[in-house]
């Protein structure tokens, strides 16, 4: 421990360490979640599926996929459900919308 304290003198104070841990743990959790969501959504794209819009901010995300036909839309819906995404069909098309909170 002493070796670590010598190596990082700015982290000598326990209070400072706790503050840094709180700050960066929060950022780490939120940012990892954003990246996981984006990777999972990217994994839903296969032949016949096109990304038409994607929005992500600090609180939530929304994505819309265009599907070439109803069969593709059904498979995409199943895949999204498997990944536990909240899906909804866009009326009058084979598009699928996914939205959720972070």
């Amino acid at each position: 421990m002493q070796q670590l304290l010598d190596e990082y003198p700015s982290l000598r104070s326990k209070m400072q360490r706790d503050n840094i841990a709180t700050k960066y743990k929060r950022i780490d959790t939120v940012e990892r979640k954003k990246r996981e969501v984006m990777k999972s959504l990217a994994g839903l794209i296969f032949k016949g599926v096109t990304l038409t819009s994607f929005t992500l901010n600090e609180k939530n995300y929304k994505v819309q996929f265009a599907c070439s036909d109803a069969k593709v839309a059904k498979r995409l819906n199943e895949l999204a459900k498997k990944e536990k995404f909240n899906t909804s069909k866009v009326s009058g098309s084979d598009d699928l919308q996914i939205e959720g909170t972070l």
Partner: protein, 133 residues
């Protein structure tokens, strides 16, 4: 009562009491030593975690790394604005290959994503990206 008669038994009893006391003391010492070892190990692990978190999320070179988001795409397609530790970037007419490259790069940068908008217009994509660090 004649104590002399039980002198040997008393010595044995005293010896047993002493042995038992020593046993309890030794046990206590071992468990407190193990406890202190475990707590210092935990403190070291927590310290290392803080160092790792700080290294990732307070990377001093992140500003330069973010600049790569500008260089990744042809200049004509990028509108770039950097203020202090915040970047707002707009990309227009991106091909799907360029979009993939850009998103992969964004995912691997240790920045706080404030906003990421992707819109498909015809065959190309428009991207709005805001981040801070």
């Amino acid at each position: 009562m004649n104590w002399k008669r039980y002198q040997n038994e008393l010595v044995v009893l005293l010896a047993f009491i002493l042995m038992f006391g020593a046993f309890l003391y030794k046990n206590g010492q071992i468990s407190s030593q193990a406890e202190s070892m475990a707590s210092s190990k935990q403190a070291v692990n927590e310290f290392k975690e803080i160092v790792a978190l700080k290294r990732v999320w307070a990377d001093k070179k992140i500003s330069k790394k973010v600049e790569k988001l500008k260089e990744l795409i042809p200049v004509s397609k990028v509108t770039w604005s950097k203020k202090s530790k915040k970047v707002t970037a707009s990309y227009k007419s991106l091909t799907s290959k360029e979009l993939n490259k850009l998103v992969t790069k964004i995912l691997n940068l240790a920045v706080e994503i404030r906003q990421l908008d992707i819109q498909k217009t015809g065959l190309t994509y428009q991207v709005e990206f805001k981040c801070k660090w």
